[in-house]
Symmetry: C2
DNA sequence: TGACAATTAGACCAATCGGTCTAGTTTGCT
DNA sequence: AGCAAACTAGACCGATTGGTCTAATTGTCA
């Protein structure tokens, strides 16, 4: 049985990174709250950066789960699948107290300093956007979309605007920016 | 004549905060690059937080300038005034090497930690959004806008989506997310 | 010029940072 | 059982952090 210590640290790290961000979260604080000694931390992780990058990986496991759940549901039209995905994500935000998205948070804080984080976060956004693109391409073929829209750009746009709405949601501790963004987007996109 | 030292520090701080963010920018680093001794810093500012908050104020002076320039130009229709504003802002981003928006950066990093920053940044976004709202209200009265859109929500939406595009622009070091967002927004809004 | 305030100058400080190191403990395999 | 690897435990470390303090300098107005 693999040690649960590492997983515990990552799961706690997910929460702490969301509120504190990277720089403000001290390794000592993390370990104190986890009840784990320092030796364990540096046994499981190369260092703080490695830890945060693996926390992002864990965050993406959750995102992938939501993506699979949303796009595996054949009872919905493609556009509705996308909307459903965001509703699940928004539900998660609610559980955190509307602190926004970890990818957006770490991306903003660290993309000016660390190429590793910059590439990591950009890669994650790209994974998500490409999944949207797939659904949007199907939707377009079905005639669900307004003429002249490019699924590729439209998918990136969706991710970007969502992140902006998530930031505002974090500032206001409110879901309104999220819902308003989705309403606007889908009204503009649908045929 | 008021000391130029304080202004110098704030202007340099603007640049450094944009790339480094708050936590990663040491006071010592700032002072070293500015060629200013520590005594001066703590004479002009209460501390690091006060300094960063004043840097945001200086940032907003620039934003207000762009707002005034855009909306003072009577040769353009209201919707075009808004677009023009963002083109000026995007030009500024270009000069920085596409590092995004300072408000978005500090908002993300600090809104989970410091209520002072959270309120400050939210206040700045609100100032900008309300200016947009004014223009959108005029545009609506002129019949430039699609039916059923609310200038108030539409203005906030614009700010939020722009910030999301700015983050992606920072990750990619590219203006594309910014332009794509504007194209989409104005196509969806105009009648 | 004299005097007082504004500013500069930088040595200094306690606290905290991420990270290392060695010693002990537990685990799993043979 | 016996042994090696995985893991825990926490004292310890140099570097850096934001911030303080006193002294010297500069500017300003009477």
């Amino acid at each position: 049985m693999a040690s649960t210590t590492k997983q515990d640290l990552l799961e706690l790290g997910l929460k702490l990174l969301l509120t504190h961000g990277y720089a403000d979260l001290g390794v000592a604080t993390l370990l104190e709250q986890a009840g784990v000694p320092k030796g364990s931390f540096y046994h499981h992780f190369e260092g703080k950066e490695d830890f945060a990058l693996q926390a992002i990986d864990l965050y993406m496991v959750g995102v992938q789960g939501a993506l699979d759940a949303a796009f595996g549901d054949d009872g919905r039209e493609p556009v509705e699948q996308i909307r459903h995905f965001f509703e699940m994500v928004a539900e998660g935000y609610k559980g955190d107290g509307y602190l926004g998205c970890l990818l957006g948070g770490l991306g903003q804080e660290l993309s000016g300093i660390s190429p590793a984080f910059r590439k990591k976060v950009e890669g994650c956004f790209n994974v998500i956007a490409r999944r949207f693109e797939k659904a949007l391409t199907i939707a377009k073929a079905r005639g669900d979309l307004r003429a002249g829209v490019e699924p590729h750009d439209l998918a990136d746009l969706l991710v970007n605007c969502w992140e902006g709405a998530a930031l505002r949601s974090r500032l206001r501790r409110s879901p309104n920016p999220l819902n308003q963004m989705l309403d606007f987007y889908f009204a503009a996109v649908r045929s």
